[in-house]
Symmetry: C2
Subunit: 221 residues, 2 copies
């Protein structure tokens, strides 16, 4: 292949053009984005919390994004073809209940969960939740969370990206991959972290302290 020659020419062209902010960030060691694996979990509305547990959620520990926390309470998910026990409940309460699964989980339950951004649950499948003492049936709310990166406006400026842009991220695993369509989410309260599910982590053989690097733009915001 003429791959090497092409790469040389591209490099020379780009050297003359100057790097884009994203490329500059990617070339520097501080371009690494910490990757966090999201296990299956649920967010609950006040009404479902009351039906399942009678009283308010019990705070156990803070999560990486400020204000979000793991609760003592756990739920069972019941789908047409399977059950998953001991699923984490995250607080605080949200306006609508939402269940975030991997595609592997969704297949166990027999639910065709679409890949969606958190909060975008219109028209998604439902599921039954039980707690041992209560039951809640969700009409909708089961999603596979679209992979995304939380970042502050400062980080966004540093990477040369903007809110809702979709970027390509190189994953430094034992079998490397580039994930496309990774949604950038910018908020002053966000701490830099890329969130993926266990299917995605397994597909690139990610270990502990895994990192991603933005290497391109899939789609502008």
């Amino acid at each position: 292949m003429q791959q090497t020659i092409v790469e040389d020419i591209i490099k020379k062209v780009m050297d003359q053009m100057g790097e884009t902010p994203a490329e500059k960030a990617a070339a520097s060691c501080d371009a690494a984005i910490p990757v966090e694996l999201s296990g299956r979990h649920v967010h609950l509305c006040e009404e479902d919390i009351k039906e399942l547990f009678g009283g308010p959620l019990t705070h156990v520990k803070e999560l990486s994004q400020p204000g979000q926390y793991l609760c003592k309470e756990r739920v069972r998910l019941i789908g047409p073809s399977g059950v998953i026990d001991n699923v984490a409940v995250l607080g605080p309460a949200r306006p609508k209940s939402q269940v975030e699964l991997s595609l592997t989980d969704a297949r166990i339950l027999g639910i065709k969960a679409p890949v969606r951004q958190s909060g975008d649950v219109a028209g998604t499948p439902g599921v039954v939740l039980t707690s041992g003492s209560g039951l809640a049936g969700l009409e909708e709310g089961v999603i596979v969370a679209a992979r995304h990166i939380h970042m502050s406006p400062g980080d966004a400026a540093r990477f040369g990206v903007s809110d809702n842009q979709k970027v390509d991220v190189h994953m430094d695993g034992s079998r490397p991959a580039v994930f496309k369509d990774v949604i950038v989410r910018v908020n002053k309260d966000f701490r830099l972290a890329m969130h993926i599910d266990f299917d995605e982590a397994n597909s690139c053989g990610l270990g502990k302290n895994a990192r991603g690097r933005i290497v391109g733009v899939t789609q502008e915001a």
Copy 2:
């Protein structure tokens, strides 16, 4: 970002250079490679077949690679932290037994299976197999099969790639990704097919009749 300008320049440079065989193939519609999902399965040596089933394997149906077939026999896998039932046995017998899992499966069993090419099992973890009537303990042989593409010498020429080269493959799923380090395996008896596991398929949201496209070279042979 200056992404668009860079892409324009790259395109002009490459137009003047002429395309490489892989790029030419990728640009044409016949560059699509059928993707097949490999579920967990085992290959057995004659000795383990005898211990587990007493007699020879029973042919059920041909698989996509000529000479390989699914058997009627099934096994249970037993690891330190879990059990997986009803695992497919593929024939014919091989010189060494080998168990191919996804990383999700390996975690259920509690086995640290490395990503390896089929047949490369030296130093890998073992597992216990049972059949209902027999038991076989493997000293080694549990792997996560490295993603790979089977192709004939004709296909290799068409794609401009060679045996044991590692290539980058764009996966056309609902959340697209580029898998790097995909091993090209060329043999006159191979039928064109890319083999990945369920973690990998889920990570890019692959549907039925999924296709991959070679978009670059990760590493020369």
